[in-house]
Symmetry: C2
Subunit: 708 residues, 2 copies
């Protein structure tokens, strides 16, 4: 499929199929917008009913066109789109935007219509955008190929490029950001149902596009989600931040899943994991795009997360502190030399502790601000600076702004301002700051969030660079592959753990017994206490079936329990195929964790980690990562969960063997990669994480093979 896209954004000729003479309607608008924004290529309205539309020559059909246009806009009724697309194919058209609605979004017949379109596009190698979309604007080159209110407006070209699966919302982001937000856009395309060129194709293109500096995405769902992490890391390497919405977050989990891992997963957990692994900045609102975009436009990234705040309003300083600390930054501890310098001029009723409060005394001494800023920007303990100037306005503001611009130009650390004056009251000051690309925000909260976004992104970039130095563990276990390939039913504990062991994950000492005498012999060999567990591919939840006995201390107890759990298992499912009874050492001590694999149809395999029992199941305190997982990612994953202090040694416990846990995660990732074709879901529950240096041990496991 075509993804070279330069011709799409900059077509030499455009045909408009179903162009209407009523320029207010959807099919009338594109011709109007293209001409009124001075599109420089050739325009071919196609409609057999007209000789011309608004003075532009009209053609009866695509076949009649004097050339194959680079781009065709399709504005006809859904039922006619397939025919049009075939004609495009015959003519050799490379790109078509299908605006028409009435496809998969309406279900039923729309779904098969859409499949037909996809097949035609593939057959003729047409790069299709849509259907059910609102088109594209290439501001930089004046190509307004679509419809909607925002097409009426003119825009300054900028360096932000966006792809949106929603037309109405996407264009509103562009309109509000470019005009009032001060963040001008370069290109925007809306992709609707995405049967052809996908949102990720466009993002890949923007990464390559030398004129795009910031990428914005609005996505409801990605059919090619497994490309997300790789593309995100390419963007990180290119230094282009991706700001992205992922919406539709209130959906329910997959109800049919058997494992905890799959139940706790679902699309949102995997998107969240991918965003983190790929340094993609999740946004919630339009203002986030404007604010973060302006922060990134300054072209500076902090080297660390140590923030210094200078304020003339104590309250605003506290607000910003709350915001930044709550988002992972910390307040810089100023160097003694800095404090000595500050002591010379900050008033005695101000504060030298970070946030440095120079107070309203600046009304009496305007030099306070730039002297303080200079001293702080020079401090080696400071990675970035926020300055809060409250509501200064008019000439006074312009004086202050000029001094800030001068000082900020002498450092390469990000300097962001919280400046609450209205635009109308600080035109000159804001103009100077804009020219110097110093980001400024109306509220300390917005400023703090933007700083935190810069800092988070810089950290993701550092993490990504560190990761590139790591090699992901690869394991190849043909025996395990073969053993699993034959399975159609759930693989019970003993067999599942043998597979884990093949990938180097420690499991409990155990043996499968098929008779009571054998069980007794095994128990004596392992040593009491032991656990007994009925093994059956038809009983996935053994505890629920009362087919498990723990802490068996003697031969007598074992003999009685052996009978009992078999009776229970048969009562639970009289047709269950019983493979035998597993005799197992009692794992004890350590922290109970849960590890798992879910093999998502869109994302591919992902590994889950959480603490056992209530932590994972009630509080859903788990972390996911997409494979392959390197050691640094595994550690990041372990530290992400709220229950992490339990592993680190909370409540007087010894620290757990986090290193062995990270190794088990890396090995499980290697398993998930190797067995992607065979494993649908996998649970290790519990995995005992022993005290530091003592390793981990899988005490129970379950594998659900992919259905054949």
């Amino acid at each position: 499929m075509r993804t070279d896209l330069e011709r799409f954004f900059n077509p030499r000729a455009i045909a408009i199929i179903g162009a209407s003479r009523d320029l207010v309607t959807i099919s009338g608008q594109p011709l109007k917008h293209l001409t009124s924004h001075h599109y420089k290529g050739r325009l071919y309205p196609v409609n057999p009913r007209y000789q011309d539309i608004a003075g532009v020559k009209c053609y009866a059909s695509i076949a009649d066109l004097p050339e194959a246009p680079d781009l065709v806009l399709v504005l006809v009724n859904a039922s006619r789109v397939a025919g049009i697309l075939r004609q495009c194919g015959a003519k050799g058209v490379p790109y078509a935007i299908i605006f028409s609605s009435g496809f998969s979004e309406v279900g039923g017949g729309g779904v098969s219509l859409q499949q037909e379109l996809a097949a035609i596009a593939r057959e003729h190698d047409i790069g299709v955008i849509g259907p059910n979309c609102q088109g594209m604007i290439n501001v930089a080159d004046g190509v307004f190929a679509g419809f909607g209110s925002v097409f009426h407006n003119d825009y300054e070209p900028g360096v932000v490029s966006m792809v949106s699966q929603s037309g109405g919302f996407g264009f509103s982001v562009m309109n509000l950001s470019s005009k009032d937000g001060g963040l001008a856009f370069r290109q925007i395309v809306t992709t609707g149902n995405e049967i052809g060129v996908s949102a990720l194709d466009f993002i890949s293109y923007y990464i390559r596009d030398p004129n795009t500096e910031i990428i914005v995405g609005y996505i409801e769902g990605l059919k090619d989600a497994r490309r997300l992490v790789e593309i995100g890391n390419k963007a990180l390497a290119s230094g282009k931040p991706i700001l992205m919405w992922k919406v539709g977050n209130t959906e329910q989990g997959q109800k049919a899943a058997v494992s905890h891992t799959a139940n706790l997963g679902g699309a949102m957990a995997l998107y969240k994991a991918a965003f983190r692994q790929a340094g993609i900045i999740q946004v919630e609102d339009i203002q986030d795009v404007i604010d973060y975009g302006r922060a990134f436009r300054c072209g500076r990234l902090p080297r660390g997360s140590r923030l210094a705040i200078i304020t003339i309003s104590g309250g605003a300083g506290i607000l910003m502190t709350d915001e930044c600390i709550g988002r992972g930054m910390r307040l810089a501890e100023l160097a003694p030399e800095t404090l000595a310098k500050l002591r010379e001029f900050v008033p005695s009723f101000g504060s030298l502790l970070n946030p440095v409060d120079v107070t309203a005394a600046i009304f009496n001494d305007t030099s306070l601000i730039n002297r303080t800023l200079q001293a702080i920007a020079d401090d080696p303990n400071v990675d970035c600076v926020a300055m809060i100037t409250a509501s200064l306005q008019g000439e006074f503001a312009a004086t202050i702004a000029a001094e800030i611009v001068a000082v900020a130009g002498k450092t390469d650390k990000p300097v962001l301002l919280a400046w609450s004056a209205r635009d109308a009251d600080a035109l000159e000051a804001y103009g100077m700051l804009n020219d110097a690309r110093i980001p400024h925000y109306k509220s300390p909260v917005r400023c703090g969030r933007s700083l935190a976004a810069l800092s988070w992104y810089a950290q993701a970039k550092r993490r990504s660079e560190a990761r590139r130095a790591e090699v992901a563990l690869t394991l190849n276990r043909p025996d395990a592959k073969r053993a699993l390939a034959e399975k159609t039913a759930d693989v019970s504990e003993h067999a599942a753990k043998r597979i884990l062991a093949e990938y180097g994950i420690s499991v409990t000492q155990e043996e499968l017994a098929t008779g009571k005498e054998q069980a007794l012999a095994v128990a004596r060999r392992i040593g009491y206490p032991v656990a007994l567990k009925v093994q059956s591919p038809d009983i996935s939840h053994k505890t629920e079936a009362r087919a498990v006995k723990l802490s068996i201390a003697s031969d007598e107890e074992l003999a009685a329990s052996y009978e009992e759990i078999l009776v229970n298992a048969r009562a639970y499912n009289k047709d269950a195929k019983i493979e035998g009874v597993l005799v197992q050492e009692m794992a004890k001590g350590g922290v109970e964790a849960i590890l798992g694999v879910t093999n998502d149809p869109l994302f591919g395999p992902a590994v889950m980690f959480g603490l056992g029992g209530i932590f994972a199941e009630v509080l859903k305190d788990v972390a996911f990562r997409l494979v392959p997982i390197t050691p640094s990612v595994a550690r990041d994953m372990i530290e992400e969960i709220k229950g992490y202090p339990v592993l680190a040694g909370a409540r007087g416990r010894a620290p757990a063997d986090v290193e062995a846990l990270a190794d088990a995660i890396v090995r499980l990732s290697a398993l998930a990669v190797d067995l992607e074709a065979e494993v649908a879901e996998l649970d290790i529950n519990p995995l005992f994480v022993m005290d530091k240096g003592k390793g981990v041990k899988a005490a129970d496991a379950l594998i659900r093979p992919r259905k054949k």
Copy 2:
């Protein structure tokens, strides 16, 4: 102290102490602002160096003034303020704003200076505002008594009144809200260090003020915090929403506390509890005030939380759904009659499922929007309506707005709009909406949050009304009071549980033994298994001291354990006074919870509830409420924690006795009220919550008495 405040906001005469002729400086600005905004009362600058300032007659001292002004502005150096305040007292001045800095905010000598001011104010009954503040603006009456950039601007008077402990930030909120935000302010006062009239005094006044409809607060901390719940409930009854910042949230807990309850508490937990109990809407940013304020200005509250969304952009509908569901609302299920009506005109490629998507087809048929809105507003299953009109602009927008205004006028349900056009592109449409008080927002996210704020407030109002029908349990236990009054050391388990029992909280069956033989006799009477616990006022954490043995099954085991734990206790603290060994039934089954009381110096007593162990201590998943706690508040508290599903019956467990738990909370609240003078901290840890109908049982407890 004076809290009648009408004269403060509307003074007949104002004196300015330390007035400067340099009208740019802090001490020069107030005179300039008062005159330029046409203050209608009499103005007396006071400065012995001048005959007049800017044409206004200047006086040498307060004593020289021809009358006692209603308000004095004090702008002199900190060291001179006490003297000035005494002169105010002598003259009979009722209100003084002290702008000067250099008091408690700088520590050291500033603290004692401030105490001196407070004493003078009390002695002369002067209502002091400040020190370290920026003054007041009464927009409605043109009184601009303060300094700062925003004092230069003119404002339309509105119905929002604000009190802020921060000058710079508070005035920026007023400036941005009133001018560009479309939410005009009536009055704003900044209170700084608050030695006299407090933020809550001003809020109480605003509740009484017939011209204030919406109250905004910015607070860093309240010295009179225990009034918060009562004042909040008065505001709820008056129908005036309070929108409030509580900042300074990154502080650490009190390190010296002995109980888990006090360690988990700290100011923020209690503010959060108070806000919830009082229906105070917490805001994070200036835009929240503007957005929520505009929502409340519509004068309508939803009767429930069932939301219907009408959209012309599917994507924006999803965004709003995420936002509203995530904040406790739910999507209304439309009535069959509504669906039948909609089917008549919504295009087949639209969606009738809520969110109802009428699609971009509105460009071809403008009547789609109002017909849909009418049908949905009439639906009895719908409590409020959000309409998303994307970026419609110009004349087209005006047509749509006129129709929306007409339909919205025929319902009393809130109708909020997400309308993304720029102000400049939809002047006429927005003007019509503003006139009709239909709130509109640039983004579906902001609209969704505002709707959720309306809905949350309406629910808090309903809860408050329900609570007024309840009577808080009152218990009076003079014996317990007397027993505790004598204590200075921590009260150990047995004694603490006897006190709990007096308030009707079930405790484990137990007896204190002072010798091994007695312990054996008690154990046989109670029945094995039992627990043994050394009792000492000097050992608060018995488990840490290994002075506890659980699940003792026999006489032999008891005899050995008895010796062992006494040896351990002495090894832990050789000077510990040992009261004896507690022989106790082993509480078993049920869910482990933790209850507690913390007696906060500012808020008074609060009760904490959480699930036991890691839930409370690592995840900090606990809920606080200020006393007195009625049964409905206790239930709300239980349902607030994330671990609630464990009580409700997660993981195949039987539901726990939530009713008995709520009763225990109510009784603990009654205890906390009765013993407020005696109890500093109290922990019940664990409290076993048995299966439904089987009650609760306190298995361990600790009381720290208030230091004498």
